[in-house]
Structure formats: C-alpha cells, structure tokens
Symmetry: C2
Subunit: 290 residues, 2 copies
C-alpha cells in the first residue's frame, strides 16, 4: 500500500506563538500514554527517528550526538578518572552511552522514572540503548528526587541530570532541594552537570540564569557552557556545571583528553570544543549577570 | 479591522524535504519582484521583522546581530587598523553597520546588485540601514563580480562577502574566479571573509568544504569559524576567512579587542567568542578533511 499523494504529515514544535521547528513525518511509529507522559516516536523525513515526550522533541537520530556528548564528556574529561556516575533522567540511554565510553567508570546508576521511555528507546533507538547492555550500568525505574534522598553520601564522582523541560514531572529536577541532595552525593572532587535550556529562548531562557544562580550558591565552581543542537529550540543549548574543586578550564588537561581511547569516535566533542563551549556570547553573559 | 480567528498564517522555510523553520506571521508587509529576485518582508509573531529573498530567510530583527557581528568583527578585530573595507552583498546594511563600528575605517564600499533590498531595509529595518547615513559608506548598485574586476588592486584591508545561498544570482560569488579577483584587491595584510552555509546541512554543507578548499588554494592562511544563528538552517552557520599574512588566532590581540570603544555594544562577539568560534566540532573537522 502506498500513501496517498494528497496529504503531507508534519510535526511542528512551537517555541513561541506559532514559531518553531517543523518536521516532515513519514510515519508515527509509536504512541503511548505512560503513567507519566505521552511517549511518541516518529520517522521523520530528514532527521531519522525522533522521540517526543508530551509533544516536546527529546532526541532525533540526526543530532542526538551533540547533546549526549556535550552533557557527558566535559565533566568526565575534566575528572579523567571518574569511577561512579549517576544519571538522572536520560532513559533513552544516550547520556549513559557517552559516559560509559570512559573506561575508568566502574558503575553507572541510571535513574529514569518512566519505563516507557526505556522501552521505546530499546525498540527504536538501538544506537542509544545499547548502553543498557553494559554490565556497569544499573537501571533504577524510580523518581529521581526520591532516589537522591536515599543514595549514599559522597558516593558519586559525576552526577548528570538529563531532564525534560522544567514543567510537569521534571519540575522537581530544577529545585534547590534537589540540587542540594545531589551535591551531598558527590565525592570531594565530584562534578555535576544539568541541561539548562536555550539562552535564545525568551520564554525558558531564564532557566539558564536560574540554574546558574542556584549552582553558584551551592558549588564553589559554577559555569555555563553551550552546544549547537539543531532539533532543540533556537538551535543553541546550555548546560550548567557545578564542581566541588575542579575548574572546567583551569583544571582541564587537554592533552589527556586528546589521548582518550574513544577520542576518534566522537562527532562533536574535542578538547578545543571543550574550552570553546565555555566562551559565552555577550548576550548570554548579559543574561547571566542580570 | 481585526483578523478573523479561523486561520493562522505561517511561513515555513524547508531545509530538506518538509523539514525546517516555521514562523507565525502577523502580516506580509512588503512583496516585490525586483529585476533580480522576490523581496518580501514579514512581521513575524516571535522574531520581529523578517526579510526573505526568493523565499530564503535573510534577516530577522531577533537574531540578525549574530550573523552581522560575526561576519565583520573577527577579521576587523584581527586587523585592528583596517582603513578601507569592501562589502559585497549585504544590501540590508547589517554587515556594514558592524564594520563601521571600527573607528579606523575611513571608507566602506558596499556593493549590492539589488536596490530593492536596500530600499526594503531602509523602510523596514532602520537599525540595519542606519549605516547608509554614515559618510564613510559609499553604495554601489552593481553586480559584485563586475565591481571586483574594475576595482583598484591592493586597495582594501578587508573584503566581506555577505551573499545569499550559492544558487541563482549569488552563484558567481562562490567561484575561484571571483575569489581570485577579490584577493587581488587586498592589501598585503588584507583579510577576506565569506559566509559559507551550515555544516549541519546535508544539502548545502559541502559549501563549507568547497569554500575552505578554494581559500586554502588562494591564501596562505584559511580558516573556518562558526556562530549560532537561530533563524538560519540548522541553527549553526559557517564563515570562511582567508588572509594574506595575519592568522586569526596567533595574530589576534584579545586585549586590544577588549579595549575597543564599541565592545560593550555588541551582543554576540567577544574576544573569547572570537577564539572559540574557530574551535570546530569533530564532525565539521571531518567534513573539512574528507
């Protein structure tokens, strides 16, 4: 059966008013209302498979490498010898895949509230969910805010928060209480990274500043960095890094990062990109200082 | 008269297949078939005024600062004391506005083939076209490829090519012949910068490589740099810099750039951003080395 030629299916994610990204859609591959959210997977005409949660684009085959490399490697290459990592959210497995490239890691706890995300990733994004087969990964299908209250103090070298936008189920992942709980789980050298929305976004752009402020009040070192993400609003995404002792630029060993065994496998992150990502455009510096 | 509520007007620019950016439109302010192209100006719901040429987005109020700052300041801050500049294309005045911030400039020749672009900019983008009031600017309403054949050799410290995509009238602005002619107009210290499309673009991404190759064959120093442009395809844009003697990183004086009288007025470019812009993601380095 061939599709009729008199319609075209398009998915538009509106960033503001009627403005945003439109994807030509070949097929809706999966649609499910989990106990937590609406999980959908599309086959797009130009970005491969695409997963949305409550109608917000999470991952596309075409550009997921940017976000996942950049949420994991700056902190892990700074740490060099991280052993225990905690990933909150990121049930698609992408952030875990990047973290697990680091041979020093002996254990990665992945805490995802929604099993439906894990199952959809296993079925439609095998290049992401392959990390679930790594014996160092332990999956916990529980609420991240509950997990961090119970986890052992001073245990993790690296905590990564790969959340959805700060509304609905992810709201608790953008609070001082949650960040404080995470901080208490870090080793003395520990580093924490969270996604913090787009600085170009007139609606959610305040998150860049809000998270930075919270991190500055909780960590001696707090920095914001950026990456180019075509399928996310405005094409530019921010991450906030909090650290108990290591500075992401002053304590970064570019030579060691160059020598990492997986350096040739990455498609975005390089030691030069590491340093460059922390160079903020003037309007972002302005936003952070307001 | 209020608009009826049963329709919404949207402009979609498709990057590939049915995928691209969609803008909610409040009004079509201007539509004109000039001798060269279709010039339109829209009032968008989220990006202010927007100009399109033959249906391709050129400028929006919201993010024009990124492209215009980044096509002008890296080379001019490298040169520090550029006196004579040539801008090919850029009839909207945005690139000229940024170049003219440099007090060392005594003359800027702006060569735009299409007067309709200049007139539309004057009417709908006064913050761009204000540069036309600068007595150092001389407007030439002629074909750029013809202008560079006639212009005096060794005359310009800086040549900037702010063209449309390499199809139709702009095709001649992406050729070896044109670049050779431009090179002959440069002073011994001269620097040339051209826009060279998005490296994320599977269709036009080869331009990043093609221009770099041509520049490498024509200049002892050829480098590619990037900036985040929300309204351009894939949100990441490339520029190629060719230089007869100055290297954009090794010969760049960040301290001098910090002290420039207009440093506080810029919204994207900073000395840190200058250096960071040349740090290419791994996939871009790969694209350039293929």
């Amino acid at each position: 059966v061939t599709a009729p030629t008199r319609f075209s299916l398009q998915y538009s994610e509106y960033w503001r008013h009627n403005t945003g990204l439109t994807f030509g859609i070949k097929a809706l591959l999966h649609s499910e209302r989990s106990p937590f959210q609406h999980v959908e997977v599309y086959e797009t005409d130009a970005f491969g498979h695409m997963m949305t949660l409550d109608g917000v684009i999470m991952i596309t085959d075409y550009d997921e490498f940017v976000y996942h490399e950049m949420i994991a490697h700056p902190a892990l290459c700074l740490l060099q010898d991280a052993k225990r990592a905690l990933v909150i959210g990121g049930g698609d497995g992408g952030a875990a895949r990047e973290a697990l490239r680091h041979p020093s890691l002996t254990r990665l706890d992945l805490v995802e509230i929604d099993e439906a995300v894990v199952e959809a990733a296993k079925r439609f994004f095998p290049q992401l969910s392959a990390s679930f087969g790594d014996e160092r990964l332990k999956l916990h299908l529980v609420d991240g805010t509950a997990f961090v209250k119970e986890a052992p103090k001073g245990h993790y070298d690296f905590i990564l928060v790969d959340s959805t936008d700060p509304v609905g189920i992810a709201e608790g992942l953008f609070t001082r209480e949650f960040y404080e709980a995470c901080r208490s789980l870090l080793t003395p050298r520990g580093v924490m990274v969270v996604q913090s929305e787009s600085p170009f976004d007139p609606v959610n752009g305040h998150v860049v500043k809000d998270v930075r402020r919270l991190f500055e009040s909780l960590f001696p070192i707090a920095e914001t960095y950026l990456a180019s993400t075509p399928s996310y609003p405005y094409g530019l995404w921010s991450f906030t890094l909090g650290s108990r002792s290591l500075h992401p630029l002053r304590d970064y060993d570019a030579e060691a990062a160059h020598r990492s065994p997986f350096a040739d496998e990455l498609r975005y992150y390089t030691p030069q990109v590491h340093t460059a990502a922390f160079a903020l455009p003037a309007f972002v510096r302005q936003l952070l200082s307001e």
